[in-house]
Symmetry: C2
DNA sequence: TAAGCGAGACCGACCGGTCTGTCTCGCCCC
DNA sequence: GGGGCGAGACAGACCGGTCGGTCTCGCTTA
């Protein structure tokens, strides 16, 4: 791993722990064992680094969360697998994200401080929500889910459940509690498949 | 409102927008229209201010979220009312929290940077989760909820759903989306009351 | 006149960013 | 093949600005 990759990797960890503004260039130099010269030789500014770190974080997110999904046929099965990946392979991935989901940390920090950076982060959330909604819609079309199930409502429960579980995990650091949160969402999704009398609309 | 109260009130707004570390003393002085002398005459440090701001935020949280709950008998009714209050009276309360729930903003920011401050924040989350669990337990005892319903699972869904909805609201600023999130939780809770065949355990 | 509140100059530490200097290569010409 | 040169990588002193916090002093009010 060359210096540039090392800086991005170490920054990713630091950002997940302390946020963007909370991480100083000095912190990064120390973690990557380099100097100002080494840093600014590869990045034009701290913001430049931000965007490259986010790119890398997205790659890791997909790698961790989407693993095995293409081998599953049923849309609801894909969602269940996504939730399991999210819990076991992503949130517990202390190597890359010792401070939990970096998108959530950064989003909470930058929302009202750096609109431009925040906008970049929002894209990912929109994407995740869209994926959930799409899969649920497919689940309805294929008959796994009752037509009476409200795609929007379930999307919201799953999406905010995922965000909340990560946030909650960051606060209490309890893997048991994280397991319970995500398992509850999986059970909730299973309920929707077994029963037809849900009056959601 | 005297200067001290004004500083606390303005800090509360700023903290909800930009976090604790992201808000400078200068920002606070400007918002409260005072000077260093005026500030340090009432607070011994920025951390001292933090604890007093959190105290005030807790008062407002209770005032907004618990309103009317003591006039409701059914435990599940209390939870529904809490969710409605949370959505309409608390999260949309831009006067006090223009940046959304201040506890979530601060918690995400301070988790891995100021453990002492973070611990103070965690108390509130533990309290909310405990309240939800207690009400669900009472709901089971009074027969509103089936004994087959898992208190822990439902607690997790409601709790992380509340956190996630707030976080999501912070990101997309959409009241419609917020309404959907919380309404989905309310509907979910209603389902648990109407049906007995939930195999949660 | 005494007390306390608030204004703002000031302090050292630290911020992101610049700039110069050094060291190590690969390449070219003799 | 050996000597010289230039480009790129990295080190770290340094810059102006901002941070949280201190201190002095004048004004207000009783």
């Amino acid at each position: 791993m060359n210096l540039k990759e090392k800086i991005i990797h170490e920054s990713l960890k630091l950002f997940s722990l302390k946020g963007f503004l909370g991480t100083s260039i000095h912190d990064i130099l120390e973690a990557a064992d380099t100097s100002k010269g080494g840093f600014y030789n590869h990045f034009s500014s701290k913001e430049d680094l931000f965007f490259q770190v986010i790119d890398e974080a997205r790659k890791i997110w997909r790698e961790k969360n989407l693993k095995g999904l293409d081998q599953i046929e049923k849309p609801t099965g894909k969602i269940t697998q996504l939730l399991k990946n999210y819990k076991n392979r992503y949130l517990k991935d202390a190597d890359n994200f010792p401070g939990g989901c970096v998108f959530i940390t950064l989003s909470a920090e930058l929302n009202h401080q750096r609109p431009q950076l925040s906008t970049e982060l929002e894209k990912g959330f929109v994407g995740l929500k869209g994926m959930l909604r799409r899969l649920l819609k497919q689940g309805k079309e294929s008959g796994e889910l009752s037509k009476a199930v409200s795609t929007d409502s379930v999307t919201e429960i799953l999406f905010s459940g995922m965000l909340g579980a990560s946030l909650s995990f960051g606060v209490n650091k309890s893997k048991k509690s994280l397991d319970k949160s995500i398992n509850a969402l999986i059970e909730y999704l299973e309920q929707l498949q077994q029963s037809d009398q849900y009056p959601f609309d």
